[in-house]
């Protein structure tokens, strides 16, 4: 099969996937307590549907709001609601959360009925996905039902199995172990957006997953596995669309209007479970990895399980001088509080030992080596942007298209002067957004 990729920029980043790529998905025991944030998605926060003292069942809906761009949350364990109060969020600060204490009962979700998606209407499919609280599980956490509610048919459904972030293998293992559900999930999503063509992009460092998914897709017209070159950020929406369909994203145009709808493979499998089994988004596969983690693996973890608990289960005890990252090491967030819980968008929990942790070094002036310019997949000038960002020169930042940066982090990764380029860019974006809104309002 022909290997595809995107043309401009990108870089080879070490994989570090060998820690977990061969570890089958296993279930982590339900913890004593889960802390379920009422908002785990982009959009309106949910209102609690339960109160303190209530008994809840596994999979019971416990938070919802009547807004289009939102996704309900569900109890991930059965037990008693012990608190509804602000709790630490991994993004920093606190977020209104429902705390459930484990009652020791059975903690696995049991499907009540098996539905045939082919006999359901598009409306019913969308409603099932919404009701299950499915959000983008690649990390973006945008409510999926909002994504698939399109006004006109979309040419391509693009499934993101690139998993270009180092360390992460949760998508890899899911594609390998659940290819049937992935392909059936793809068919469900294709129906909801009335698409005839589906491209499943998988980086070629996962030949077993490519083979497994291609095997299941064989019988279906229009569903095609596209092997992708191993290049970061192959899994970014714009680069993935280019590599799999030859189309290009355009500023200010939704990808559906360019003819592509991109979904993560994990999300697609979750959609299948939601539609066929009525299973809500209450647990997910998380890669727990790092060179020093005794029991690395790909675990099914209940939403709301404390990060500290997960690490303890994996045999991690000493974290002095370590960095714990939620998500991949290129775009994920370092956590300051291990009391925060796993959410729907948590792809990985990484423990980076002191020798891998990049200390905050005094960075120097840009030496114009041009490496960030060579590697920027968005064809920007990260060097200029970082200088303007330091000086808070907002007009220049806008002139040099700072808002087109999707924060893949290659510039900071590659910069020999150690400049935290993408961080500097991230810091000025809110101000620019405000300025643009003000300008648009005039």
């Amino acid at each position: 099969m022909e290997v595809k990729t995107f043309k401009d920029g990108g870089a080879h980043v070490p994989h570090y996937k060998s820690f977990t790529e061969d570890k089958p998905i296993t279930r982590m025991d339900a913890p004593e307590e889960v802390i379920i944030p009422l908002s785990q998605h982009l959009g309106a926060p949910n209102e609690p549907l339960v109160k303190v003292g209530d008994k809840v069942e596994v999979g019971q809906k416990i938070g919802e709001v009547d807004e289009f761009i939102s996704a309900p949350v569900h109890a991930s364990i059965s037990g008693t609601v012990t608190a509804i109060e602000p709790r630490p969020a991994y993004t920093g600060g606190e977020i209104m959360s429902i705390v459930i204490k484990n009652d020791g009962g059975p903690q696995e979700f049991v499907s009540k009925e098996k539905r045939d998606p082919d006999k359901m209407t598009i409306e019913e499919l969308r409603e099932a996905i919404r009701d299950a609280g499915i959000v983008g599980m690649g990390g973006a956490a945008f409510p999926t039902h909002a994504n698939i509610s399109v006004k006109k048919p979309v040419e391509y459904l693009v499934l993101n199995g690139a998993e270009c972030e180092p360390f992460l293998t949760c998508d890899h293992r899911q594609m390998l172990e659940r290819p049937y559900e992935l392909v059936e999930g793809a068919r469900i999503l294709m129906r909801t957006i009335e698409s005839k063509k589906c491209r499943i992009g998988i980086e070629e460092n996962k030949p077993d997953a490519i083979a497994a998914v291609a095997e299941k897709a064989r019988g279906y017209d229009g569903i095609e596995v596209v092997p992708l070159a191993v290049k970061y950020p192959q899994g970014n929406k714009d680069q993935l669309i280019e590599a799999t369909t030859g189309k290009y994203s355009i500023r200010g145009v939704r990808s559906a209007d360019v003819g592509c709808l991109v979904r993560n493979v994990g999300t697609t499998i979750a959609c299948y479970d939601a539609v066929v089994h009525g299973k809500p988004s209450m647990e997910r596969v998380v890669t727990v990895s790092g060179p020093t983690v005794p029991r690395c693996g790909n675990y099914i973890i209940k939403i709301g399980t404390k990060i500290g608990h997960v690490l303890k289960e994996c045999g991690v005890d000493d974290l002095d001088g370590y960095k714990v990252v939620l998500g991949g090491p290129m775009t994920g967030m370092a956590v300051s509080d291990l009391e925060s819980g796993v959410v729907k968008g948590t792809t990985g929990i990484l423990v980076l030992p002191p020798d891998m942790v990049r200390e905050e070094v005094a960075y120097s002036s840009c030496v114009r080596c041009g490496k960030c310019v060579d590697h920027c997949p968005m064809l920007l000038y990260p060097n200029q942007l970082s200088i303007y960002a330091e000086a808070e020169m907002y007009d220049e930042l806008m002139e040099w298209d700072v808002m087109d940066c999707m924060e893949c982090g290659i510039c900071s990764y590659i910069c020999p002067a150690q400049r935290p380029i993408v961080h500097l860019i991230r810091m000025v974006k809110p101000t620019i957004r405000k300025m643009q809104r003000a300008a648009a309002g005039k």
Binding site: D238, Y248, L319, L338, R358, D404, H423
Partner: protein
């Protein structure tokens, strides 16, 4: 679990190994072969000149940063590299204080006074070298009166020979191409062996510090123009500061254009200027002047070659679907 000492820094959490310090050190390493050839031919004259320039560079940088109340940046090797480059631009038997003065101007004025590494517009080493040439008459005036302290390490028989480039200009009989390429003493220390420079350049390519655009465009332009003007291109390529200029000076990160396209334009322009200097004007320092002149044009080249964003509707032309909507919005 003790979570009080978790490291908390922004993404990305991985970092490529390459640092500015390493890159600078690699360039110094890449200059070792040609330095050794120079030492072979010029003995202690070469050692002395290189030492003088590198020490001057270090002292100048220390003093300037102290005066400007900045942290010392000697650790980034850039000053030492500039010192070495300046030394290699001089004949080994040049007056030592000329090398020292050129280094002082290079590091103190062309680099540190401009804001330090990254903010200089002109290649510091070439700036220092050329400044001394321009200032030579005044320096000589002062020098003959106050500063005659010549170093003497015994006779070196090659010093009085005409440089190959001067021989070419004067129509003298030339040494063989092979000899010129491998090792032939004459002129500045860096001019003794294009082969040694090429070895160093190969190392820089291998380490990914330089790309082909600038050297190839300079050398190709010079070769083609030499042919057009009816001269043997190999004599032009293997003489003077051609290789040092094309591989080590024009490729200087700070003072060359930032995109590949810009770098090609930059290289071709330098090649054209070199031929104009060599064929029409003075036979020496054409490469240095050409690079410095083009250094001044870098901001303009960068502006003209500015690429547009990946998601800019203009980039994909009319074929991009949804374009009408995008432009209607903006």
């Amino acid at each position: 679990m003790d979570n009080q000492k978790l490291v908390f820094t922004p993404a990305p959490h991985l970092k490529d190994d390459l640092t500015v310090n390493q890159a600078m050190r690699d360039v110094i390493i890449a200059l070792i072969p040609v330095s050794l050839v120079a030492v072979y031919f010029f003995k202690f004259y070469a050692v002395f000149m290189i030492a003088v320039c590198m020490v001057t560079a270090a002292i100048t940088e220390l003093v300037f940063r102290k005066v400007m109340k900045k942290e010392s940046s000697l650790g980034d090797y850039s000053a030492l590299l500039t010192g070495l480059l300046v030394a290699l631009c001089f004949p080994a038997t040049a007056k030592w204080w000329m090398g020292a003065l050129a280094t002082f101007i290079a590091v103190g004025i062309a680099k540190e006074s401009m804001g330090g590494l990254g903010w200089n517009r002109f290649n510091p080493a070439l700036f220092g070298r050329v400044a001394v040439i321009v200032l030579a008459p005044i320096i000589m005036l002062i020098g003959t009166n106050f500063l005659l302290v010549p170093a003497n390490f015994g006779a070196v028989d090659v010093v009085t020979r005409a440089t190959p480039l001067a021989m070419l200009k004067q129509g003298m009989e030339m040494p063989s191409i092979i000899k010129l390429f491998v090792a032939y003493p004459g002129g500045a220390m860096s001019e003794v062996s294009p082969l040694a420079l090429l070895l160093g350049a190969a190392y820089l390519f291998y380490r990914g510090h330089i790309k082909w655009h600038i050297p190839v465009s300079i050398l190709a332009t010079v070769a083609v123009l030499a042919l057009v003007t009816g001269q043997n291109p190999l004599y032009h390529l293997f003489t003077g500061g051609m290789f040092l200029g094309a591989f080590f000076m024009a490729t200087d990160w700070v003072t060359c254009p930032i995109t590949s396209k810009g770098r090609l334009i930059f290289g071709v322009a330098i090649g054209v200027l070199i031929i104009i200097f060599r064929v029409g004007l003075a036979p020496t320092e054409g490469v240095a002047f050409s690079i410095l002149i083009m250094n001044a044009f870098v901001p303009l080249i960068d502006r003209v070659t500015k690429r547009i964003s990946y998601v800019d509707p203009r980039l994909r032309g009319a074929v991009a679907p949804g374009r009408e909507r995008a432009t209607a919005k903006s």
